[in-house]
């Protein structure tokens, strides 16, 4: 089913040339090259992290985003000062696009004290509140009401912004997402839910996990909420439709559900031994050959005469250099100390306030 869909993406055949959409038309060449750079940074970062994982330098899960880069880049690059973002555990791409450094991210993967979460969160839990990025969450769909709350806070404070809240195609079947949709529509909360539909939840294809009419996003219709479906391999389309939703949030304080079709090349996590059992290797190859978002964007840049192979290579080399430096930084960084385990639990304790000193907070002897 997924290959079938892939052969003619729902909206790929659309006559609209999204490049002409205002949000794209005004793009400067450097910006377009920047998108390429970010997609390449994600891919190189993750390829390096995969090596480290295979070398046994990481624990727990490693969920690779490779194949989906155009979604994070196409959507998050649209964020303004009052726009925020939150996602699930497949969060490396989002983290890098919002501006987190490869160093802090790679160090986090190795569980180092220099990591973005001081080695306490790991791959699934990257955060950068200073960059309006709220994680990085491990419980499927658990982040969806948080995104609602972030957007609620923007409205409460009278700020014109929104929260881009990402979830997977499997996550739509968690009840809390539906509760969030009803609340968002009922109260006109400026949240934009972005379903990154990579067609599988672990080893389960969309068809085996979800009863749908035309698509997952259409469930929003039951809440009288706007929704749209997006061809994720087309960076211009991703930007145009996401911006439309963000405008709706900014101007009318209304929510949207977007479903962006995409595909992951690797297993659900690196531990996924079945990555090529629940889907045919040919399917994966097919996507790499015909739907790779980076290749497609490179070709587009060439067509537009913005980049040639040399320029692209230069950008890629820079991504590789940055990655190598991050690996070095992470490897050289120290692990947390055992006593660090008790920091970052209660802010009042961390700050040494009166409240933090009153009564026993931890029950070790």
């Amino acid at each position: 089913m997924s290959v079938a869909r892939a052969e003619k993406p729902k909206t790929g055949s659309s006559p609209v040339d999204y490049a002409k959409a205002p949000i794209n038309a005004k793009l400067k060449p450097e910006q377009k090259l920047g998108f390429l750079a970010d997609m390449l940074r994600i891919r190189r970062f993750e390829q390096a992290s995969l090596k480290l994982y295979q070398q046994g330098k990481m624990g727990g899960f490693l969920h690779l985003y490779i194949g989906q880069e155009s979604v994070a880049v196409g959507t998050l690059a649209l964020m303004g000062d009052n726009d925020h973002a939150i996602t699930a555990y497949r969060d490396h791409g989002h983290a890098l696009v919002v501006g987190m450094s490869m160093n802090e991210c790679m160090a986090e993967l190795l569980g180092k004290a220099t990591g973005c979460s001081k080695g306490k969160g790991g791959s699934m839990h990257f955060f950068a509140p200073d960059k309006n990025f709220w994680g990085g969450h491990g419980i499927v769909a658990g982040q969806t009401p948080l995104g609602l709350g972030i957007a609620f806070a923007l409205k409460y404070k009278g700020l014109k912004g929104c929260c881009l809240s990402y979830l997977g195609d499997g996550a739509v079947n968690q009840g809390v997402f539906h509760e969030s949709l009803n609340l968002a529509a009922l109260w006109d909360i400026p949240v934009v839910y972005i379903i990154e539909n990579n067609q599988y939840s672990m080893g389960t294809s969309l068809a085996r996990s979800s009863a749908i009419k035309s698509c997952l996003a259409e469930r929003a219709a039951g809440y009288d909420m706007d929704w749209d479906i997006v061809n994720g391999e087309n960076l211009y389309e991703v930007r145009a439709k996401t911006w439309e939703a963000m405008q709706r949030a900014h101007e009318k304080s209304q929510p949207t559900v977007l479903e962006i079709d995409t595909y992951r090349y690797y297993g659900h996590s690196v531990a996924d031994a079945n990555a090529k059992k629940y889907r045919k290797p040919e399917e994966i190859e097919f996507y790499k050959q015909n739907h790779d978002p980076i290749t497609l964007w490179e070709n587009r840049l060439k067509e537009e005469g913005i980049a040639d192979d040399a320029v692209i290579k230069k950008i890629d080399d820079e991504a590789k250099r940055e990655t190598a430096a991050a690996v070095q930084f992470a490897e050289d960084s120290p692990f947390p100390e055992l006593q660090d385990i008790f920091d970052d639990i209660y802010q009042e304790v961390d700050m040494g306030t009166e409240a933090g000193k009153t009564g026993r907070h931890f029950f070790n002897d």
Binding site: H125, A128, P129, L146, L148, I150, Y156, L183, M351, A355
Partner: protein, 325 residues
């Protein structure tokens, strides 16, 4: 000092904190236009309007999660669960998001959230509506849990909870909402993590939280009247952080402890207290620490039976007599 109800004391705390801090808002089912299922938020919607007092659909996971997200952004949501029993449909949001987000972000985030509502049996609302999850909540490093027994403590602890920069669970009690007590007008707080000796005594320490404190006080009164036994009553007030010092001081003085706890026995709050006391005051104990909990069954509906399912002064007295002979 004016005498008001536990319900009014909470209401004052909300009103004062809403006025004090523009980031404070109340949210929950029927808290606004209906004035609260138990009238705890009476008049606040009229007074402060739609922005500060907000009715929700029946979507606890959704709106508690919303509160966590809003708190991460610096707001101070005060979320009502009509019953704490309904926390179980929002449990993931409470434990994993409110409780863990600071840790998983390496301290980049804090969550100044209050989750509040009644957690008690004894009102014949059946097993599903009579849960007392303070033991579970307090098991979670990252959450704080308080359980006021009097109007005075209710207002002071609620104000501390709202000003606290970490998530605080406030365990109220529908059987206490109507209780009267002296409560100062205006601002005062009771620090979280400080127990209160509600009655001084020398022969045995009765240690309790929430409504069980009143049961302990009733037992203490009869113990002195009928048995000439001087019981000290320690009100934990806060479950996590816990004021172990006050507990241990009391036990080292009386050498005997009977814990009164409306939790179900297995891993109830009193199991932790008993375990702690025997560990740190072993040589001071003249008798094993005793526990009086709710009878170990789901809450029964039948009114005359359920009232006996909760700890009673009689059961407390029996235990005390057993350790004081």
């Amino acid at each position: 000092m004016p005498v008001i109800t536990y319900r009014q004391a909470l209401n004052q705390a909300f009103a004062e904190e809403i006025e004090r801090d523009e980031n404070v808002f109340l949210m929950g089912e029927e808290v606004a236009e209906y004035n609260g299922a138990y009238k705890v938020t009476e008049g606040l919607w009229k007074r402060f309007g739609d922005k500060r007092v907000i009715d929700t659909p029946i979507s606890e996971a959704g709106f508690i999660g919303l509160g966590v997200g809003a708190a991460m952004m610096g707001l101070r949501p005060v979320m009502e669960l009509m019953f704490w029993s309904f926390a179980y449909v929002a449990y993931d949001q409470i434990i994993n998001n409110a409780g863990c987000v600071r840790y998983m972000s390496g301290g980049l985030i804090n969550c100044p959230l209050v989750i509040r509502g009644p957690a008690n049996g004894g009102t014949n609302v059946g097993a599903t509506h009579s849960h007392t999850p303070e033991n579970f909540l307090a098991n979670t490093p990252g959450l704080k849990v308080v359980s006021p027994a009097t109007p005075y403590d209710a207002k002071g602890l609620m104000k501390s909870a709202i000003r606290d920069n970490d998530p605080v669970c406030v365990m109220e009690n529908t059987l206490l909402y109507g209780d009267q007590g002296e409560v100062p007008e205006g601002d005062y707080i009771i620090p979280i993590g400080v127990a209160d000796v509600k009655r001084e005594g020398t022969d045995v320490s009765l240690i309790a939280h929430g409504r069980a404190v009143l049961t302990a006080l009733a037992a203490a009164h009869r113990l002195s009247e009928e048995f000439n036994i001087s019981a000290e009553v320690v009100d934990l007030r806060s479950i996590r952080p816990l004021d172990e010092q006050t507990i241990l001081d009391s036990v080292r003085k009386t050498h005997r402890a009977v814990l009164v706890d409306e939790n179900k026995p297995f891993c109830g709050v009193s199991s932790q207290i008993a375990s702690m006391i025997q560990e740190h005051a072993f040589d001071d104990l003249d008798a094993p620490v005793q526990r009086v909990c709710s009878l170990d069954a789901p809450a029964i509906y039948s009114p005359p039976i359920e009232i006996q399912q909760l700890p009673t002064a009689d059961r407390v007295i029996q235990k005390v007599l057993a350790v004081c002979n």
